[in-house]
Amino acid sequence: MKKMNRRTKTVMLAAAILLILAAIAIAGLVMNADSYGPDYGAKKLAPSAAHLFGTDYLGRDMFCRTIKGLSNSILLGTAAAGFSACVALILGIVSAAIGGTVDKVISYLVDLFMGIPHMVLLMLISFAAGKGLKGVILGVALSHWPNLTRVIRGEVLQVKNMQFVKAAQKLGKTKTQVAYQHIFPHVVSQFIVGLILLFPHAILHEAGITFLGFGLSVDTPAIGIILSEALKHISTGMWWLVLFPGGLLVLVVMMFDKLGDYIRLLIDPASAQE
């Protein structure tokens, strides 16, 4: 095989990661509920060929539960990060493009939300939503926008003072036209990278808040719940309940991180031409 150049290699790697993540998400969606249900004939089994990740105290196959949980995490994380990123994009552009009082109010809100520790904010939102699944989704979706808003606002402020934007303004275009036609295309690459880098955060926070016992019933396979059950039974020495689900979670988070890096390499003008 011919040696690939760097850009092709990056594209291939990014595609491979995307494929794996999509496969996990879909595998969880189409999975038969029986495959991770209790099987009282196969309780507390150590990992083997039949049960790759072993089984727990109810005989549930941990491999299937983990995949189902990760699938839920990926879907939830994607939805929540997407929502947060859209909020950030709109607020960021509005804040920088209009300026004045609007900018002050939005910046104040960003500071406000960043002043509350993320975990505490998640708890507050999920408490306000009456706990449950709704609380987790709302919490993760509503708490990830401030950082990205700040990044996009900074980016827009930079672009705003460039020659071509000033020229457009002098040509008599309205503020909305300038924002949409001249500023937005420049911010969109930052936005996409920021969006993908939000996923790992969203997934980790979702796992954290469910681990604490907020939201999602105990039977739902979610990584946070699997691990909090493992904690309850930790003194029984079933190490596989801890190692595999958590390890896979870390792998998924790392893959999202890498994906963000690769996509940055691909769309950042400074490195895209290599």
Binding site: Y108, L112, G208, I234, G246, V250
Partner: protein, 320 residues
């Protein structure tokens, strides 16, 4: 300086208002949470309690009342612990403080050293190992790290207790300092390890920047070795941003301690927040939230002030 302070105070008010609104908009009925779900008091009695607590008043009125009482040092009573919230906070913070302070110091020192090591060996194998290590760490949730340590050191090796801050079934007076430290090691280790990645990567980048600079090139030409260059030109340049960053990381520190305390059943503030959230203990949740905001706020303020005080460039800049 005055305007910064005003801004900060405005922020504190905003945060308290948001937390208050979030907590009272919860569908969890505070009266029911207070009496417990089993007891069957009549609807009229419930209304009397609700009226006594002022639950029938508009939200703004309730916020102002809460704020007024807050300034008098009264944050209400915790439902879960049946004690005044201020008392719970004080007890819990003492326990949490030890944990967070230890972890903060260890992660700062370890991260700084690892960062310098990686930066000096940039591109060689120590750098690659440290970079990979930090990359994996930054994707690792604090609670999983805690669980792993628990499985290895507490369950399999049996070196450390499985949880709690003091031995189970011993009265507080009998607990020795040694026992407290023994219970502290694993949670503190968990929290330290998860805090290392950030500071290490930051320091590494700074060292690489310094090593590329003209004055280091000149120092090399003068015949200084790596250690001398590091001591004379590197450390001072890197220490300031690193310390600032470490102070600004109070928010993650608190978030991490919530998770770590849950893993080790360590009776600190984070644990209280979890209990409050799950049992519908609104006053306590609000108290912890406000406290955590104050905690982060103090961290950021210190970072701001330190940045001005230690950094000679900024210090002179403000005077002129």
């Amino acid at each position: 300086m005055g305007s910064t302070l005003l801004r900060m105070i405005l922020l504190l008010f905003g945060v308290s208002a948001i937390s208050f609104m979030l907590v009272i908009s919860s569908p969890i009925d505070p009266v029911e949470a207070f009496v417990g779900s089993e007891s069957n008091i009549s609807k009229e009695q419930k209304e009397i309690v609700a009226e006594y607590w002022g639950l029938d008043q508009p939200p703004l009125q309730r916020y102002l009342t809460w704020l007024k009482n807050l300034f008098h040092g009264d944050m209400g009573d915790s439902i879960a612990y049946k004690k005044p919230v201020t008392q719970v906070l004080a007890e819990r913070f003492a326990t949490s403080c030890v944990l967070m302070l230890t972890a903060w110091l260890i992660s700062g020192a370890l991260g700084f050293v690892l960062g310098i090591l990686a930066g000096i060996c940039s591109g060689k194998w120590p750098d690659k190992i440290i970079k990979t290590f930090c990359f994996v760490l930054s994707s690792t949730p604090a609670f999983w790290m805690g669980l792993l340590l628990l499985v290895i050191f507490a369950v399999n090796l049996g070196w450390f207790p499985v949880g709690f801050a003091v031995p189970v079934g011993k009265s507080a007076a009998d607990v020795t300092i040694g026992e407290r430290i023994h219970h502290l090691i694993l949670p503190a280790l968990t929290l330290s390890i998860t805090g290392v990645a950030n500071i290490a990567l930051h320091t590494r980048q700074k060292i690489i920047d310094v090593m590329k600079s003209r004055y280091v090139l000149f120092a090399k030409a003068r015949g200084e070795n790596t250690w001398q260059i590091l001591k004379r030109h590197g450390l001072r340049n890197i220490a300031i941003p690193a310390i600032t960053l470490q102070f600004a990381s109070f928010s993650e520190l608190f978030g991490g301690s919530v998770l770590a305390e849950q893993v080790f059943s360590y009776p600190g503030l984070g644990n209280a927040a979890t209990v409050a959230g799950i049992k519908g203990d609104a006053p306590l949740l609000l108290g912890v939230a406000l406290f955590s905001v104050l905690f982060v706020f103090v961290g950021n303020l210190t970072a701001n002030i330190l940045y001005g005080v230690i950094n000679p460039q900024i210090r002179e800049g403000t005077e002129s």
